[in-house]
Amino acid sequence: MSAGQPPFDSPEIRRLTPVLGPGHTYASVTDKISAIVLTRPTSLGWFIGFAIAFGLTGLMTVAIGWLFIKGTGIWGINIPIGWGFAIVNFVWWIGIGHAGTLISAILFLLNQKWRTSINRFAEAMTLFAVACAGIFPLIHTGRPWMAFYMFPYPSTMGIWPQFRSPLIWDVFAVSTYGTVSLMFWFVGLIPDLATLRDRAIQKPTKIIYGMLAMGWRGSARHWQRYQSAYLLLAGLATPLVLSVHSVISFDFSVSIVPGWHTTIFPPYFVAGAIYSGFAMVITIAIPLRKAYGLEDYITMRHLDNMAKVMLATGLIVAYGYFFEFFLSLYSGNKFDVFLVQQRLHGPYAPFYYSLILCNILTPQLLWFYKIRHNVVVLFIMSIVVNIGMWLERFVIVVISLTRDFVPSAWGRYSPTFWDWATYIGTIGMFVTLIFLFVRVLPAISIAEMRELVAETSEKKE
C-alpha cells in the first residue's frame, strides 16, 4: 500500500471521491448536461475527431464494397481457417457491448448509485458495438443478400432453419440483445428527450426532440409505470447479457475442435466480455469527461470502481486461461495436449504470450490505488486490455483451426489489407457513432442525475 492512502472503502474515501461533485442542484445538472447538446458551440476538436473517424468509416465502406464485388477471397481466410478476422472481430465487438448492459441492468438491480452518470453512454456504446459486431457474420456469409435465410420465414422452398445449430442460436441471441439494448436505452432517454424539447430554442430542434419524447410530461402515473417497466427491463437484460456471450461461446464449444470443446467456455467468455466492455467504457469515459468538463459527474470514484471491476473480471479471465490449460493437460487427450503445446511453442506463440501480458500481467497494476487514480495510466491500460481481448479471440480462432486433428489438414493464416481495412473501419464507425451521440443526445442521464441530487440533499438534512 502506498503512503498517504486512506483505508480501503472508508467514509474518508467516499468523501474524497463522491459520485457527484458538491453543490449541484436540479437546475445545475440539467443546464450543464443539456448545454452540451443544445447551446455549447461544437468545438474544432469535435470536427477533427469526427472527420478522422468518418474517414475510417469510409475505408470500411470501400472494403465491404470491394468484398461484395470480389467475394471473400480478398480476405486471408482459407481452408482450414474459414473463420479468421470476421469471427475474431465479431466476438470482440459483441464482448465490448456487454459492459453497457451490465452497468445499466445489473448495477441498477444492485442499487449501485455510481452507475448513474456512466450508464447512458455505456448503453450507447453497447448499441454501437453490437452494430459493428453484426456486420461481420453478415459479410462473412459470402452472400450477405441471402442473410434472411437465417430467419425462420415461410419460404416457397418449404425449408426452415436448423434450430439445433449454435449458429442459429447466435442469430436469435444477437438480434434479441440488439433489440432489448435499444429499447432499454430509449426508455431511459424519454425523460431526457422531454427536457431537451422544453429547453430547445430553435423550432426544428424542439420539434425533433418533441417527437422523440412522445409527449412525455413527467406525470406521477406515468413515472410509476415507467419505473416498473425500467426495473423489469433491467431484470430481463441481466440474464440476457449473461446468455448472449454464452451462446457465442457455444459457437465454439459445441464443436469438437481441440481447444474449443470445453465446458469452461460460457462463463469464461462472459467474464472476458465484461472485462473488455469495462475497458472500453474507461477508454470512452476518460476523454469524454475531459473534453466536456464532466469531472463533477464522472468522478474519480467512477473510474476507480470501473478499474476494480476490470481487475476482478480480469482475474476471472485469468482463472479461465489457467483451467483451459489445466483441463487440456489433465484430459490426457493427445489433440488437446498438442494444442496447448502449439499455443506455447507454435507459430502463433507470440500472440499467446502477448495475450497473457495484456490480459493477465498488466492489469495486476490495478491493485495499486495510485494507478487507479492516474487517469493517463488508466486510459493506456484500458487500451492494453482491449488489445489483449482481441488477441484472445485471435488465439482461440486461429490456433485451433490451424492445428486440428490431422497434420495434412494443418494450415497457416495471415490477414490481408482488406481484413485490416474492415476491422479498422468498424472502429471508425464505432467512434463516428459515439461522436454523433455525444453531440445530439445527453451523454449522461439528466433525470437520474436529478434523482441523485435529491438523494444526496436528503442525506445532508
Partner: protein, 181 residues
C-alpha cells in the same frame, strides 16, 4: 364567474421541492379532490403512495409477453423440427428439446421486454404529442427543477376560483388555469 367551463382543463400550481409536492398532494387528497395529477422532473419517492395510486399493470403485461414468447418460441421450434420439416440425422429424436432451449430463452426475454416497453407506453397513452398542461408557460420547468400539481376540471369538487385559492393556500407559486385547447 363561470363554473365548469368546457375550455378549462384545470388549475395548476408550482412547487419548489419534492417534499413540498408530496405535502401538497396529501393536502389535495385530504380536501377531497380525486381527479388531479402531479408532475415532476424525476420519479419522486413516496409520491405514488401520497397520491394513493394502485399497483400498475406493467408487470402482468410483461409476464404475459414473456410466456407468449417462451411457449410460442418452443412450440414453433417443435413444429419446425418435428412436424413440418423433420430431418432424420442418424436416427436422433426429432424433438431434441435441449437444443431448443437457447432460442426459447431468447424469445422469452424478447417477448417480455417488448411487452414491458410497449405495455408501459400504451398504458401511459404515449405517444401523445399534445396535452393541455403544455399550454401553461411555466410547465416547461416540469422537466428541469419544478414540481406541479394540476387539479382537473372534471373533478366533482372543482371550482375555478376556489380551487385556485386552495392551491395558493398550499404555498404553490404561479397558480394558473390550464386551457383545454
Amino acid at each position: 364567474m363561470i363554473l365548469h367551463r368546457s375550455h378549462i382543463y384545470g388549475v395548476v400550481g408550482e412547487f419548489e421541492t419534492p417534499e413540498k409536492l408530496i405535502h401538497a398532494v396529501e393536502k389535495v387528497r385530504e380536501a377531497g379532490y380525486r381527479r388531479f395529477e402531479a408532475y415532476s422532473p424525476f420519479p419522486v419517492e413516496g409520491l405514488s403512495q401520497a397520491m394513493g395510486l394502485k399497483r400498475n399493470l406493467v408487470p402482468l403485461i410483461t409476464l404475459i409477453g414473456g410466456l407468449t414468447g417462451g411457449i410460442g418460441g418452443f412450440g414453433f421450434q417443435y413444429w419446425v423440427a418435428a412436424i413440418t420439416y423433420p430431418l432424420n440425422i442418424g436416427g436422433r429424436p426429432f424433438n431434441s428439446w435441449p437444443a431448443f432451449i437457447p432460442v426459447t430463452f431468447e424469445l422469452t426475454i424478447l417477448g417480455a421486454s417488448l411487452a414491458a416497453v410497449f405495455g408501459m407506453l400504451a398504458l401511459n397513452k404515449l405517444p401523445q404529442p399534445h396535452h393541455p398542461v403544455f399550454n401553461v408557460h411555466r410547465f416547461s420547468h416540469a422537466s428541469t427543477d419544478r414540481f406541479f400539481i394540476c387539479i382537473e376540471s372534471r373533478d366533482a369538487k372543482f371550482h375555478l376560483a376556489e380551487t385556485a385559492r386552495f392551491l395558493q393556500g398550499l404555498e404553490a407559486h404561479h397558480v394558473s388555469e390550464v386551457s383545454d385547447d
